[in-house]
């Protein structure tokens, strides 16, 4: 089927007015912007959530159709569909994960687990046994999918929010994570043990536009064929490519693809072709292929030409995101505290007390001074 499927969220069912959210507040008006989406592992299902707090489920075969429109409690940041294709797990801004049935596409969501912090990503192990959640603090939590109240481990080590997590499909014990601390890390996630840490600033540093440049990974894509990992960093027009050495359990930096425009998204095809979506109407899509270990742009691909034309014909959909602000910059901790000031004052007080004590000791030997003290008027 060659025709393009277009679904306009602005025409989808809206949450009835007056209905109150879980927090007791009235529903605030959101936009139709899509906040998160995911395919099921087989590609048979696709789900998205938008700023209007809708969760929309699609079936993709034999042809695309909308299965259901449901409403979530809070705005969602990430979602994932089980390998069994029976559930969607949705992570939200208040730190909760809800599950929504696919077999009962109208059923309400069920609270599965919660963090005391905004969630940024949710992932499942390939066999659906473990559910992994990444939060705006430094934590990655690993829980049993069937008993999510039971925490198997925490993967601790990141120093800022964890922006992306990915269970390596052909190394099912390994988790790849990225954070606002400009690192990529590999974990033996069932035990929570960090097996490799990759400092992006040392690898990507020379290209940095400013000395304190942060490498906040906004997208990760993985290709089982060759174990390639491609990443995109927030506000940096470059795609960095690594290769996973599964035996040594580490990432080896390969090369980078410089873009003329801001990168929006990246995706590997099964056989290793890399798609790049960028902020440019003239050339919104790029296709790269590995040739003797070098990634080269492909321009004469029929699929690329067809997809580029689809995007250009529907550019109004993308236009709104041109020049959009960084999604991650506000997630860095703006800490406030007066403890240092307090401890400094306390130090001064202790010094004063010490001095007073010493003065008194001196005074006890000198009668005149003592007399003067006694004559001080009491208030």
């Amino acid at each position: 089927d060659e025709s393009l499927f277009v679904y306009d969220c602005s025409s989808a069912e809206k949450q009835p007015l007056g209905e109150k959210g879980q927090d007791g507040k009235g529903t605030d008006k959101g936009s139709d912007d899509i906040l998160a989406f995911a395919f099921s592992p087989s590609g048979d299902y696709f789900a998205l959530t938008d700023d209007n707090k809708r969760l929309i489920l699609f079936r993709t075969k034999p042809s695309w159709e909308c299965v259901s429109v449901r409403f979530v409690n809070r705005r969602c940041t990430s979602l994932v569909i089980t390998a069994a294709e029976d559930k969607i797990f949705v992570a939200d801004k208040s730190g909760d994960v809800y599950s929504y049935s696919i077999t009962e596409p109208q059923a309400d969501g069920k609270l599965e687990l919660g963090h005391v912090s905004l969630l940024l990503d949710v992932a499942l192990s390939a066999d659906d046994r473990y559910i992994l959640t990444a939060d705006r603090d430094e934590k990655i939590r690993v829980s049993l999918t069937k008993a999510p109240y039971s925490i198997v481990s925490y993967c601790m080590g990141h120093r800022e929010f964890v922006s992306k997590i990915l269970v390596i499909p052909n190394c099912p014990d390994l988790l790849l994570s990225a954070s606002g601390d400009s690192t990529l890390r590999l974990w033996e996630y069932k035990s929570g043990e960090e097996v490799h840490c990759c400092q992006l600033s040392t690898i990507c540093g020379p290209q940095a536009t400013k000395p304190d440049q942060k490498f906040t990974v906004s997208r990760i894509t993985y290709c089982c064929q060759g174990g390639y990992v491609a990443i995109l960093c927030d506000s940096i027009p470059t795609v960095y490519i690594f290769q996973l050495d599964a035996t040594a359990r580490q990432l080896v930096y390969k090369e980078q693809i410089s873009l003329k425009h801001k990168g929006w998204d990246i995706a590997f095809e099964e056989m290793g072709d890399l798609w790049i979506l960028q902020e440019d109407k003239e050339a919104p899509l790029l296709l790269y292929r590995a040739c003797d270990g070098q990634w080269k742009a492909v321009t004469d691909d029929k699929g690329l030409q067809k997809m580029s034309k689809y995007i250009q014909d529907n550019w109004t959909v993308f236009e709104g995101f041109v020049g959009a602000e960084s999604y991650y910059s506000h997630l860095y901790k703006a800490s406030f505290d007066n403890m240092d000031e307090y401890l400094q004052r306390k130090e001064e007080r202790l010094q004063q007390q010490k001095k007073k004590k010493q003065d008194l000791q001196h005074a006890s030997s000198g009668q005149a001074k003592k007399k003067m003290k006694a004559e001080e008027p009491s208030l």
Partner: protein
Amino acid sequence: MAAEEEEAAAPPQKRFYRQRAHSNPLADHTLSYPSRPQDMDWAALFPSFFPPDAAPGTAPARVEFVDVGCGYGGLLVALAERFPQTLAVGLELRGKVAAFTRARIRALRAARPGAYGNVACVRANAMKHLPHFFRRAQLSKLFLLFPDPHFKRTKHKWRIVSPAMLAEYGYVLRPGGLVYTVTDVPELHQWMLRHFGEHPLFEALPPAQLAAEPLLPLLPSVTEEGQRARRAGRAPNSAVFRRRPDPPAAAP
């Protein structure tokens, strides 16, 4: 901190440590906490349990008791006297209160060398940092004494007992480990009973064991909060919950 060390001999005075009773547990406080449990310098807090001449290969001492929101340290002092060989740490978010409790423990250690070496206080946010300090199944006792009631419905997510927090308590407690709760707010007591009762990892201690629990009669009166409640004539409600075994396949 030179002067703080010299202050050790004298017990701290409350008037220098005044602070509001509430602190926002969801805010980004400037706290220092380890990135991972193995990075925590416990020897600095419990020097007498980490002798420099320890035989190589001996397992380092580990904290087993945690007082969440330890306040002015009344429970820690009582634990030091009853369990002198078990490391107990109090977590307190309010900076000045934590500083008071640290000064109090320093003064007690100085007054009776050899005693109080097993208790310490850390300024930390228990709602965010438990997995930073403690490993899975490390703890045997967790105390939640007179927690902030957060009466307003919008503040219920600040409560120290919630489904999300119970999963974390279940993570740091070993199967069979105990959680002790005391509050003078009946509504909060019901809230805690309900949440622990509904959580698959916890069960109320059976009445026979509850009656034999030696710490229980002590808890309402050892803390400042408890003494204040008693003076005001508010009756404390206590409860003890036990960490149940892991569900199958939860252990790594």
